[in-house]
Symmetry: C2
């Protein structure tokens, strides 16, 4: 059903027809439809959605819509949605509500759900604990495949969480059994004979970005989460890990453009908050760039004699900045996806050194020829070409080293991207340029 259809049917008050059409929709598309509606129509349409799908649709809504909807709900409706949500989705929703509202909402749900939710609410924001869910299937090694399938029928909530079952012994994880094993073995087979004793797991306090990287590396559907006593307390599913990966990449890209990271969407972020996230880095970089300016004033005599010198400043600064950004970007991304490590430092330096020579020679020669043709001044052409070559060498080496140094100092390498590199390289290129110019022209 398109938005247009829905609006028309709503206008004609054909509610039964809407309910039938909503049945055919995927939960993600239903959430999209709801978010496209005016606020006052949302509760009406939400109530027409099939009970079995309502909680999942709710979990796909943006924070604003969730909060607005919940205000119009009866306590009964709230409790049935909270009970039906998987624990991690319930926590995602509650985390954005004021504390007193959370307490009131939790009064309406059963003790089990409340305990689960309260436990998850305690984990640190960026930890594996904060993205895990407590809905998973545990088995015992003396069970048979038949008993395991019966248990899944009883407790299995949604698909991602039943395709890996966890064999425990006094809450300690001793093996895993895949859904495929259960599907393709006789009902009498013992779990002990099926289970894999080698498995990948994470801990509640692990950084969620590292968890996402493990998913990426091993291509798993779900991963068990252990607490500090090595007891099984939850699982992370691949779809949540995928979201973490997208979020972390967005944050990295924002940092690379000199912004503080922000996980709200662009349009939902207020003007004031946009400005706040951008202004600090701009301020720091603006004052750093003034250093380059102060250096230029030292060479006032030089460009008083040869004013043409000034006109090559933008080209030198931009090209140096671009060369440095290329190197730093490659290194930052390599570090982010675990393709490069600190131990590769020398290999990276040696590679960038050779690339810088190739790129430097090509650009300097082209630029020298252009300047000679345009200004018929061999001296200027030589000075600018040598400066460009030196600037490119410095830019490439600074560009590849700063992200590695940041990583070494436990800083995020992403901050050492284009803006910072450009500012650092600018200062170098101006010094190099005027030193060479004053030397060659003996000013």
């Amino acid at each position: 059903m398109t938005m247009m259809n829905l609006m028309n049917l709503l206008g004609e008050k054909k509610y039964r027809e809407i309910a039938v059409k909503l049945k055919e929709q995927n939960v993600v598309d239903l959430a999209d439809l709801l978010m496209g509606l005016d606020a006052e129509l949302q509760p009406l349409v939400f109530r027409m959605i099939d009970k079995s799908k309502a909680a999942e649709v709710f979990s796909y809504l943006d924070d604003e819509e969730q909060q607005a909807l919940v205000q119009k709900f009866t306590p009964g409706e709230i409790s049935s949605i909270l009970e039906a949500l998987s624990a991690d989705d319930a926590v995602d929703f509650l985390e954005d509500m004021p504390a007193n509202v959370v307490t009131r909402l939790l009064e309406n749900v059963g003790a089990d759900t409340r305990n689960n939710i309260n436990r998850l609410l305690k984990y640190e924001e960026d930890s594996a604990g904060s993205i895990m869910t407590t809905e998973y299937v545990t088995l015992h090694q003396e069970m048979t495949v038949g008993q395991a399938l019966d248990k899944i029928l009883r407790v299995g909530i949604n698909s991602e969480t039943v395709y890996t079952c966890y064999v425990v012994e006094r809450r300690r994880l001793i093996g895993i059994v895949t859904g495929k094993d259960l599907m393709t073995n006789h009902r009498d087979t013992r779990i002990a004979d099926l289970m894999l004793k080698e498995f990948i797991c994470v801990h509640t306090t692990d950084d969620k970005e590292d968890v996402a990287k493990r998913f990426s590396k091993y291509g798993l559907i779900a991963m068990p989460v252990l607490d500090k006593d090595e007891l099984l307390v939850g699982i992370v599913t691949f779809d949540d890990a995928w979201d973490v990966m997208t979020e972390e990449t967005t944050e990295d890209i924002q940092k690379m453009a000199a912004m503080e990271s922000n996980d709200e969407s662009y349009l939902r972020t207020s003007v004031f908050s946009h400005a706040r996230h951008r202004i600090i880095w701009l301020m720091v970089l603006m004052f750093s760039a003034s250093i380059t300016g102060a250096i230029i004033t030292r060479y006032e005599d030089a460009f008083a004699v040869i004013p043409l010198l000034v006109s090559f400043i933008p080209m030198l600064m931009d090209t140096g900045g671009n060369c440095g950004s290329q190197s730093s970007t490659l290194v930052i991304r390599g570090l982010a996806i675990d393709e490069l490590h600190f131990s590769d430092t020398l290999a990276i330096l040696w590679k960038e050194f050779r690339v810088a020579i190739l790129v430097g020679v090509a650009l300097s020669v082209m630029n020298g020829i252009r300047i000679f043709i345009m200004y018929r001044d061999l001296g200027i052409a030589i000075v600018v070409s040598i400066s460009l070559m030196a600037t490119i060498m410095v830019a490439k080496l600074v560009g590849c080293m700063l992200p590695i140094a940041a990583k070494r100092c436990k800083l995020d390498p992403a901050i050492m991207a284009s803006p910072v590199i450009t500012t650092v390289v600018d200062t170098c290129s101006i010094i190099i340029y005027f030193k060479i110019a004053t030397m060659i022209f003996k000013i």
Copy 2:
């Protein structure tokens, strides 16, 4: 087992012990271990790996290792690996081999495998067809759950591919059944009563990036791929979609730093190829930056009179570039993850306009005060502040508009990032600066 252990055991020729320890390892870790070994030891260790895991380990090796290994294999070994690889992994491997080698390798495999592989080799590099696999489970609606499970036992290859089964009627996809449905329903239940008739699918010619976005949106484990006649020809699994997402993000980030995209890893890319990917954009931007230089020469008189003017050029250029990069980065990322669309153009412009005013006022005031304190020259402080304010306004608006314009012209928005924006904004800021300076100081 660590690399060190393995090397020691290899040195002592304790091959049986190695084989036992290799058994406990995950396939991804085994591939890592193999790639850490010298080339001459790789075939020896590879042959010690369990037959059941060997093909999967092979699929996780880098191209170079695969090619080196295969040269040392007997025709029998090659055919058993090719048969055991899933079709998409086999194709990935074969795509990097010379055509005559591919023909020779395919002579050793059965007709079915050969046909499957040949079919997949025909799809375009960036299409859904190129990342799909032909191993999937088809069911018929008159089958029962029991018969379905028996079929999975017979044909199911690896886990990701059995958790969604496809109900077909003369190769046309009419519904899907999840593994969970099969696990939690009685063996006599008819597939027709279980199957979902609403499902998300893609077509062989769809861009693989769009396929990855659908996975991200719907959180699915696998998605069916239809050909142009709407017949089912393959499936894409989430782990392959995840790889596509990572690859495409890396490409975007490279383009944003003015490089041609390159899907080889940093260290594996040759110096020459690194230089080639970087040089064209640098050249284009270098010559564009010369325009800014040429504009400066028009104002030689101005800075002959007030040399101090030159020293604010780097600060204005850098701050303008940074402001523009922030806006363009937010828009590029928003477009990439489908959070922003062409229809949001006005909302984005209006938001950036207001952000630019806030940021512009803050930076201009701070900078004006600094200049006044340092140089005790109110005229200069005012000229630079007004220029900075105007530059920031232009930078933010150019920065958010160019990526949207690129998208509209079917270009990749990622090329409109920091380097291009900086070059465009530089020209604007220099013109604004000298226009204002010459006007106020009447030079």
